[in-house]
Subunit: 132 residues, 2 copies
């Protein structure tokens, strides 16, 4: 048996991330749940969702409860951890390792509400105190 620590888990692919999104939202789901949430309009087949979940289970990205006929899947990685993972990946590859460069771009480009800006400012103040 191969034991995989959380940090060893492979980075989810495009399709896998979409599935994780569904599981994060719902908490858990069967193949049918995932298929209906993602692939119905796509025209994507049921077995496509199934295969993806099987592959993801093989990689350790989801847990499976097979005590019922329709197996129930849960995300084996937290949303926060995964977001962090993608984020630092991108900082390295696209922003020369500078997180603040990324932040400046993000603030400059995308829209934020006043409430969100306030929240960011609060965090900023806290960081400022800590970076003594």
């Amino acid at each position: 048996m191969t034991i995989r620590r959380a940090t060893d888990l492979p980075k989810p692919t495009e399709a896998e991330l979409a599935i994780l999104g569904v599981l994060w939202d719902r908490g858990y789901g069967t193949v049918r749940d995932v298929h209906e949430a993602l692939y119905l309009d796509d025209g994507g087949g049921y077995t496509t969702a199934l295969k993806l979940l099987q592959v993801m289970h093989g990689k350790g990205l989801v847990e499976r409860d097979d005590s019922q006929r329709a197996h129930v899947f849960r995300a084996a990685v937290s949303k926060e951890r995964t977001q962090k993972r993608f984020l630092s990946d991108m900082v390295q590859r696209v922003f020369d390792g500078s997180a603040s460069q990324l932040v400046l771009h993000a603030l400059g480009t995308q829209h934020s509400t006043r409430e969100e800006l306030k929240e960011i400012r609060a965090l900023l103040n806290r960081l400022d105190r800590e970076t003594k």
Copy 2:
């Protein structure tokens, strides 16, 4: 002939992004330049770099000056535009469309210097005034 607007350009792949990084840094470069900058320690072959640049040229990601025997390549997409592209992609796929969520994660996780925090705060103040 197919004309491609900047917004039509495909998102650079992993390897392509690394090559763009070299071209952004140097301004321009031959296949040999790129190969030495990226693939020497990797053990990556010369023709690998060449093929990638050919593919990228086919996609419109780089411009080529073939007036010399050793063709000279330049990035056909700006660094800023590409960063923005990756950023909004990620906001959609990983952060449910919320840029501020991404910013909070980025500030919380990665390190920033006092100087950088100051810069961010300045932008924040400006945004605050504009988001009247």
